[in-house]
Amino acid sequence: MRKQVGLLYTLPQILWLVVFFAAPLCIIVMYSFLKKGLYGGVELQFSLEAYTAMANPNIVLVTWRTLKISIIATVLTLLIALPCGYSIARSKNQAIRLFLVIVPFWTNFLVRIYAWIAIMGNEGFLNDILRALRLTTESVQFLYNQAAVILVLVYMYLPYAILPLFSTIDKFDFTLLDAARDLGATRFQSYVRVLLPNIKGGLVTAGLFTFVPIFGAYAVPLLIGGKDSYMLGNIIADQLTKTRNWPLASSISMTVTVLTTGLVFLIAMRKPREQKQVFDADPAFLQVAPDGKR
């Protein structure tokens, strides 16, 4: 009886997710094994074409580029977020410092992308300043290249990395650092040998929360990127809306899905303790957003 009650409570959610999440994913899996229709859609005929088409050098190139951009952006984000999280954790005004990180994060992300266009454009804010200072006469081309894409991606996902890092560092016993120093470690050594191993879980969570959305990025490369910045997300959208190759859109989507979820589960399942950290850090980090403190 009690078991049934529990199931009853969860039934609406199960149903909703089965219909609007699992079923669509299954359709994608199915479509990826079908033949493409001439004018979009699919023909009910088994085919591996969508997967062999992924061996196309162009798609391999984009996959590689997406991976490269995602890794660079994630590493940069973590490098910046780590000292930030540390600084917040050791501050007396944690709530205010967290609040400052969150406010820009609450502004619509397209508005923030637009702001970067206004800053980095040929006739934008930065070039205006450079010209006013007589450092250049012609505009410097900041936008529409991979570096600009990486910069804006780092900007977008910094808060995603800072918050979980903060919540892990906050649980760290800082007296351990003093102990290490007393035992003769330099300041740097004490961070690397004592702090880092203890906040591994937070680093992993922060890394995943940055890497996964960046790997599927669509809007940033579209708006900030140039002719060399197409990423997998753009290819998927193009196959669906322009080239009308739904099976290929599906097979690339499947690849992205398997890669990202696989990565998450691989890391999460490795050690029970880390798994708990990965899954736990998440609500904690989210709660920061609405009420400003954990």
Binding site: Y9, F20, I27, F99, Y114, L240, P290, K293
Partner: protein, 271 residues
């Protein structure tokens, strides 16, 4: 929810290294720079980004001459609250179910609730679009609402679950001993106890919904233009820098809204 011991202990420790503080403030500058630039340009009299004098003209246009923008805004609000309500209702029930009972599918439910969150948005959008096409559902506000409820669910489930885990199970046991039935326990004890979690889940859902562009972009149809979609079209085409004024209003709005909300929640949580 700071640990009290932590605060007390900190007094005896050296402050955070100055380098990390410098980086922190540099990052805050970096995070706020675009917002300041937008506010600055919103007062520009000219059309392009070059400064041509101070003016309120774009604010005037925003309020008086942008009916489509306000229609998109209304759509966004309707979708945000509508999808937040639905996902909060379903997600809270599921969280209560998995927190209080153990049953065969429990692990399955937890895992399945987690997966939509780690899937790239583009995949969720594309799969929903293909799904709606398959079942012949007309694209429009309804499909946007379904999509938003779907991506909100895992967040609601996790937030409410986290709150329920913190609560004391002995209260429920005491109520059961005193003869309370299932409905009474749910409405008189569990839901009030979980209320801060439910509320913050609801607000998170509202925020996520207001923010979403990629998924909405794929599943929207006639009459289903939300504010982010409208902003997108303003970035891509459209003559007017009204977008600067709109952005400035949105920045100010978030700051003004978020701060009191934070205090409101703090009071509520302490209850």
């Amino acid at each position: 929810m700071l640990r009290k011991g932590g605060v007390a202990a900190r007094k005896f420790m050296p402050p955070g290294s100055s380098l990390s503080n410098v980086i922190y403030w540099a990052v805050i500058g970096f995070l706020f720079l675009p917002l300041f630039v937008l506010v600055f340009y919103s007062f520009n009299a000219g059309r392009q980004t070059t400064w041509q004098g101070f003016s309120f003209v774009w604010y005037q246009k925003l309020v008086m001459e942008s009916p489509e923008l306000w229609r998109a805004f209304t759509n966004s609000i309707v979708i945000a609250f509508g999808s937040a309500l639905m996902s909060t209702a379903i997600g809270t029930l599921a969280a209560v179910g998995t927190a209080r009972y153990s049953f065969k599918l429990k692990n399955f439910v937890s895992t399945m609730s987690f997966v939509p969150m780690i899937l790239p948005e583009i995949v969720v959008g594309v799969s929903l679009l293909i799904f709606f096409a398959g079942v012949g559902l007309r694209l429009g506000l309804l499909t946007v609402w379904i999509a938003h409820t779907t991506f909100n669910l895992p967040f609601v489930y996790l937030l409410v679950s986290a709150r329920l885990e913190e609560s004391d199970p002995s209260i429920v046991e005491a109520a059961q001993d005193l003869g309370a039935n299932e409905v009474q326990i749910l409405f008189r004890i569990i839901l009030p106890m979980a209320m801060p979690g439910i509320l913050s889940a609801f607000l998170t859902a509202v925020t996520l919904s207001l923010e979403d562009f990629v998924i909405t972009f794929f599943v929207t149809g006639p009459g289903g233009t939300t504010l982010p979609l409208y902003i997108y079209s303003m970035i891509r085409f459209g003559v007017s820098p009204v977008i600067n004024a709109l952005s400035a209003v949105m920045v100010a709005g978030t700051v003004l809204l978020v701060y009191p909300m934070r205090n409101f929640l703090k009071v509520f949580a302490a209850r």
